[in-house]
């Protein structure tokens, strides 16, 4: 079972700069294949970690360990003050209530409508009045610009729309941490930009901490170097990030289950590591 956090721990987690996800020397292997050799990093509240790496380098595995879908063989994983590596499936439910995850290809429930997909957690796992849930579903779909598709089935949507509905499903219950697993892979550049903008808006307007797993460099740098601002009239626009804002987005490069780089966008670009240079070229 998830343990009740002490009031002091809750206060610490509520502070700006609090560590919301901590990976401490995490290791995982499937039979002979070592996926994560030694992974250590910390995600600060309201910040973004962008995990880069080639296919099979262990990026998505890290996200699945955070959500508790897989258990690490060794090491410690803290999420919002709870050790998820020690929690039972029942205990993990509480941790997951503050985590939104976007899976590769979206993983929408294909037997449910967009409305039912987006409101799934609220309809199934809470006792909120239906009218209130419907209102929240419409609000979230409006936020990502898909309000007119509310009664469609996932099979009627384009790839980009499906990915955005997946984002809507993940944010509908207002999690404070978002995990994006290849959210823009396979999308055309224009649709990918739309998805990137949603990630930026969530981070900057809703103060959501994020981990973005991708090998799409263009998207990764775009999210790291832009920010969302709301003007006096309430209109939202995406503009180049200030230096302070850029420092809130950190890159991690994983190679063969090990972190070979951790730092800001500029430092990544200037890296002399031959593998990183080749990856960025």
């Amino acid at each position: 079972m998830a343990t009740e956090l002490a009031p002091s721990a809750k206060e610490i987690l509520a502070e700006p700069g609090a560590p919301v996800i901590v990976f401490d020397h995490v290791q995982l292997a499937f039979d002979e294949k070592v996926v994560l050799r030694d992974l250590t990093f910390t995600l600060i509240k309201g910040h973004t970690k962008i995990i880069l790496g080639a296919s099979g380098s262990g990026k998505s595995t890290a996200l699945k360990i955070i959500v508790g879908l897989w258990k690490a063989d060794a090491g410690v994983v803290w999420v919002n003050g709870q050790r998820v590596d020690q929690l039972s499936e029942r205990g993990l439910m509480e941790v997951r209530s503050d985590l939104g995850m976007i899976f590769q290809e979206g993983a929408l429930f294909d037997s449910l409508t967009v409305r039912e997909n987006v409101g799934y957690k609220l309809y199934e796992e809470t006792n909120l009045p239906l009218a209130e849930i419907d209102g929240r579903v419409k609000e979230v779909l409006g936020f990502i610009g898909l309000a007119e598709h509310i009664d469609k089935m996932p099979s009627e949507l384009s790839g980009g729309q499906r990915r955005r509905v997946a984002i809507a499903r993940a944010i509908c219950f207002r999690p404070s941490i978002m995990l994006y697993d290849e959210a823009t892979t396979g999308l055309d550049p224009i649709t990918a930009s739309t998805v990137n903008d949603e990630m930026i808006k969530l981070r900057d307007l809703e103060n959501v901490s994020s981990i973005i797993v991708t090998h799409q460099l263009r998207d990764a740098f775009y999210v790291a170097e832009h920010m969302a601002v709301r003007d006096a009239a309430g209109a939202v626009s995406i503009v180049p990030a200030t230096a302070a804002k850029e420092r809130e987005a950190e890159f991690i490069m994983i190679r063969d289950g090990l972190i070979i780089f951790e730092g800001e966008a500029d430092a990544l670009r200037r890296s002399d590591d031959p593998y990183i240079k080749e990856f960025l070229s």
Binding site: K64, V67, G68, L69, E89, M93, R96, S97, L99, M101, F103, Q104, E105, A107, L108, F109, D110, Y120, K121, E124, E125, R169
Partner: protein, 257 residues
Amino acid sequence: MLSLIEGWLKKAALDVQEYVRLVKATFGGVFTRPFYTHDVVEQFDLIGWGSLTVVLLAGLFTGMALASQSGLTLDQFGATPVVGRLVSASMIKELGPVLTALMLTGRIGSGIAAELGSMAVTDQINALRALGTDPLRKLVVPRVLAGIFMAPALTVVSDFIGILGGWVIARYQLQVSSSLYWASVTKGLYMDDVWMGLSKPFVFGFLISTIACHVGLRTRGGTAGVGRSTTISVVAGSVAVIAGDFFVTQIFIGFIY
């Protein structure tokens, strides 16, 4: 060669272990919260009402073929009037439960494995878990409950329609009067037979649904994996039904008769 056998045995042992865990967790899910009532109702409808046509057709033609074949043999001894006894005993004790279960294996066993398998390979099962839903409670418990309770209901329907099919053949092909046929049907039935015929489908429904859920949830390898799981579910389900039939029959013969 030895390492191949060792590998196969390890895989089989792991499969059995996972199956037992699924069954245990499913029973736990029936008696604890959260319980997804609307999914249970939906599965009762899909599995019960949805399988009615195929079960009716299988029962009707089995009863008719049984009466026709038995009539040929009984006619040699001038015993066609007892054809009802033969049809009812065979349908209720053996053919009704087994054939209904085999039909359900083909229809719902494959359907469950394909549906859960597709969900597994497209990360929908992981998405459920990430959204705080236990897939066992949401997907497995409703299907297993529907399997356990709908298989007996469908078997009763199949038994009745089979005996009715037997009457059609007895009346119009074997020229046995209706009153004689129905009197023979009831005379040939004992309560022990009825209990056996009603107990078997509970076991079969449980076996079909749990095997299909277990195979479906363990699907790997994209659409090819879904196809493999569907085949395994039907084959394993059918063998389990036939083997289960033998063991339940032995238990009844040993302890009840």
